[in-house]
């Protein structure tokens, strides 16, 4: 656990100093752990675990948009699990369920096996449809068609700067819509 946490912290430091590949690796590494914890939390609250992927995506968006609140001199895992806990509680509350989130579900030294994706997520995809066309096109191009920012810019005759702005605004708008649900 200790080793894993140190690795995450190191990756996040690189990510914050602009290393997008490190950021990508970090998000890939934390996802199975978040997924396992989300499933455990849902099961404990008596909810179907097939919603776990929506929670995972919700957590990842929050991690992304709030990452400037991470203090680079602090370990990454407690920060991550605080966000994850908040999102799980929020999801259960929105569904009007009594909340049984055990702190242990997102303990700093999280036990348990990481989980593979089995359920599919629908909420982010559904909210994507409600975004302004430009933001939706850019997000779709990068997410679904795996296009780079440069290719996306060429495809829509936009500058790379404009693609970056649309991408970021799209992600922020998506998160806001998920919260308002």
């Amino acid at each position: 656990m200790r080793e894993r946490d140190d690795e995450w912290t190191g990756l996040m430091r690189s990510a914050m100093s602009g290393d997008s590949a490190a950021y990508h690796r970090l998000l890939k590494a934390v996802t199975p752990v978040l997924r396992a914890a989300a499933r455990r939390g849902l099961a404990r609250a008596g909810q179907p675990v097939d919603q776990s992927e929506d929670i995972v995506q919700d957590i990842l968006l929050a991690v992304h948009l709030k990452r400037q609140t991470w203090d680079s001199s602090a370990p990454f895992a407690p920060w991550l699990f605080a966000i994850a806990r908040n999102k799980l509680i929020d999801t259960l509350r929105r569904r009007g369920r009594r909340i049984f989130v055990n702190i242990d579900d997102f303990a700093e030294t999280l036990p348990g096996e990481p989980a593979e994706q089995t359920a599919s997520a629908g909420e982010v995809a559904a909210q994507l449809q409600t975004l302004p066309a430009r933001q939706r096109d850019v997000l779709q191009s990068i997410a679904v068609d795996s296009a780079s920012i440069k290719d996306t810019a060429a495809k829509f005759s936009m500058t790379e700067g404009a693609v970056r702005v649309a991408l970021h605004r799209g992600l922020a708008a998506l998160t806001a819509k998920l919260r308002e649900q």
Binding site: A15, G18, D19, S20, A21, Y23, H24, L27, K28, T31, E53, V56, Q57, L60, L61, A62, H64, L65, K66, Q68, T69, W70, D71, A74, P78, W79, F81, A82, I83, N86, D90, Q117, S120, A121, G122, V124, A125, L128, Q129, L139, Q140, I142, A143, V144, S146, S148, I149, R164, L167, H168, L171, R179
Partner: protein
Amino acid sequence: MSMDTDQLIRTLAADNEHHARPIGLSLMLALLAAAPVSMLMFFTELGVRPDVMTAMHNPFFDLKFAVTLALAISATAVSLHLARPEASLRGFGWWLLIPAGILVAGIGGEMMMPQRTPMMTRLVGTNSRYCMSAIPEMSLPLLAGALYALRQGAPARPAVAGAIAGMLSAGFAATLYASHCTDDSPLFVATWYTIATALVAAVGAFAGSRVLRY
């Protein structure tokens, strides 16, 4: 159309170059933007008391600013701390005791000095009603600015974060008000400034529980 988690991760990584402004800087800019509104309210409605030059030689007049600025600064520090998702008041809440400590020391100091007016008269003062309305009113623009900036944060308890934002706004507003008010007794400050601050903290908690959720 679907968006599986790998695709989302790829999209987030593509956005890694976007960096938000540090929250401390956002908070400072928001307060600087809101301050002229509060100051306009102050100078049109209240203004600095006419005998300010003499008052400055009264240590209890000066003490009011020590208390209100200590409140503003310590609540700002706590606000920035609480913007982090894993943070709580534990280990940090004592910052808020600094202004209270200064006030208690002031009350003690005043008790030891010979007084011409009785204690209750000093406590009740002459401006308590102004104090209780002017401080909250001048706080509101600052509170709105602070909450706007703190929306960038990820507080575990939005209502608590909002209450502390209310305290920092009240601290700055009370600093303005203190230069108008002719009641300088620490007993007056401890009573009416505290009630005014509590009102703004309650408004902040209510607003925070709505706008600071993430």
